[in-house]
């Protein structure tokens, strides 16, 4: 129930003074109320919960987070103990 998922805005229309978007969740398209994110634009991603967009997904920060993860352990690989690393691989780590 508490699930909130990222979806991409396909189109936006005005209905009874309220902005409503069609949002694509990996193939499933749902109607989403934009009252809490009135400046969301077509093509942007938002975190959606029970039919409401709650926050714009910050694509730049998503990219940075993934980059940080991929850099983790690089120093370890560069300067770590290769014997230990090899032993770790042997037991299927």
């Amino acid at each position: 129930m508490c699930l909130a998922v990222p979806g991409r805005v396909l189109e936006i229309e005005e209905r009874d003074g309220t902005r409503v978007a069609s949002v694509d969740f990996g193939g499933v398209v749902k109607e989403v109320c934009l009252e809490y994110l009135p400046d969301l634009q077509v093509g942007e991603y938002a975190i959606v919960h029970v039919g409401f967009a709650l926050q714009r997904l910050d694509e730049e920060s998503a990219r940075q987070t993934l980059e940080l993860f991929s850099e983790l352990g690089m120093l370890q690989e560069e300067f770590g103990d290769p014997w230990e690393a090899a032993a770790g691989q042997e037991v299927g780590k």
Binding site: C2, L3, L37, L54, L57, S70
Partner: protein, 374 residues
């Protein structure tokens, strides 16, 4: 799906795990206070990939599970009335009240409907002006703004046959109560990402400071959870206790100001009972005076309810992290998702249901999915 698949990458998960293994030197107990995270942890076997020193305690983060029995019984009574269309999220249907559940009420002729959004319930009210339409408004800070907006719209559009049965709860007072409990073993918190998407993070520094406990705002995908654990463990190992945001793609420091303003307008803070735990001061919301006429409890004057919990159910201890689901004698035998004794076995976000679904029947059983890949 974009922004989900990338955060399930097994190679990056290994890097995060290696970092945690390299950092940890002694035992630490971390609590996640979000049922969505509990589900993700058990589904992906994350707890079993972590070093033995890192224990994840599943906190009272499932809104379905903590909704008090008295409110469930009120829902059952209102839903049984012939003039009522009772609308709810699907996972409330099987939550046991005293002797029955919403599913049975429907079988007995009650008009119980499952909706995806509270706005669907409002639409049903517009289409059925001669019926009373009640929406079961439960949930944490994530779900409260959609429900608040729905009541606001009802008032704006003059839809008077709509009302809300409110049982909203707030995370920070629960963290306070957990830290004050004499049995508390928690040394660090993974804060619920989507609660902070709405509320921001400004309620947490005082908590972290007062209890000298690190609080790391954490997302829901495997890499998000590993990053939350990694940062919490790093703080603990360095003797630090600050608030960090490990879910910046969805959480800004200020949260969503429009949603917070709507919450201020529609609700007011109140003491709230949590099922299996008891009353926690200031831990809930009820409708403010301006919107009180949309309160289903006063509209249907459901008073004098006598509740009865099954004596065998130990969900209160599970919710407080004092008991693992498989340590309960009824788990998987007399209590299953088909015949639940308590709410933690009902919702997919409940710890008992997650352990049952992924075959964590004993402390040592192998999970169905041991890799961090979906």
């Amino acid at each position: 799906m974009k922004y989900i698949d990338e955060f399930q990458d097994p190679e990056l998960a290994r890097r995060l795990l290696d970092d945690i293994h390299a950092t940890v030197t002694r035992p630490w107990a971390l609590m996640e206070v979000c049922g969505g995270q509990t589900h993700s942890i058990i589904r992906h076997g994350i707890d079993q990939l972590l070093p033995d020193e890192v224990e994840l305690i599943h906190g009272p983060g499932c809104p379905v599970c903590v909704t008090p029995l008295e409110v469930i019984d009120k829902a059952l009574e209102i839903a049984s009335r012939p003039d009522v269309i009772f609308c709810s999220f699907g996972d409330m249907l099987r939550v046991p009240g005293t002797g029955r559940d919403l599913f049975q009420v429907r079988g007995e002729g009650g008009d119980v409907r499952v909706v995806y959004s509270p706005l669907d319930a409002l639409r049903i009210a517009q289409q059925n002006p001669d019926r009373q339409v009640v929406f079961f408004g439960i949930g944490f800070e994530t779900t409260a703004p959609p429900n608040a907006m729905t009541v606001h719209q009802a008032r704006k559009l003059g839809i008077r046959n709509f009302s809300l049965l409110v049982s909203h709860v707030r995370v920070p007072p629960a963290i306070e109560a957990i830290m004050r409990s004499p049995n508390c073993r928690v040394q660090g918190f993974l804060a619920a990402g989507h609660v902070c998407t709405v509320m921001g993070v400004d309620e947490y520094p005082a908590l972290a400071d007062r209890h000298r406990v690190p609080i790391v705002v954490t997302g829901f995908e495997p890499l998000d959870i590993l990053e939350g654990v990694r940062r919490t463990v790093a703080q603990l190992e360095h003797g630090e206790h600050t608030v960090e945001n490990a879910y910046p793609r969805a959480v800004r420091a200020e949260g969503n100001p429009a949603a917070r303003a709507m919450l201020e307008d529609v609700f007011e803070v109140t003491d709230r009972a949590w099922r299996g735990i008891g009353v926690i001061p200031d831990s809930g919301w009820r409708l403010s005076a301006k919107y009180r006429e949309y309160d289903a409890e006063s509209r249907f004057s459901v008073e004098g309810i006598r509740t009865r919990e099954p004596a065998e159910c130990r969900s209160g201890e599970v919710l407080q992290g004092l008991l693992k689901p498989y340590e309960c004698e009824a788990f998987g035998t007399r209590c299953t998702p088909r015949t639940p004794l308590g709410a933690t076995m009902v919702s997919s976000e409940g710890a008992c249901a997650a352990y049952y679904l992924y075959r964590r029947l004993t402390a040592t059983s192998t999970p169905r999915e041991a890799s961090p890949v979906a």
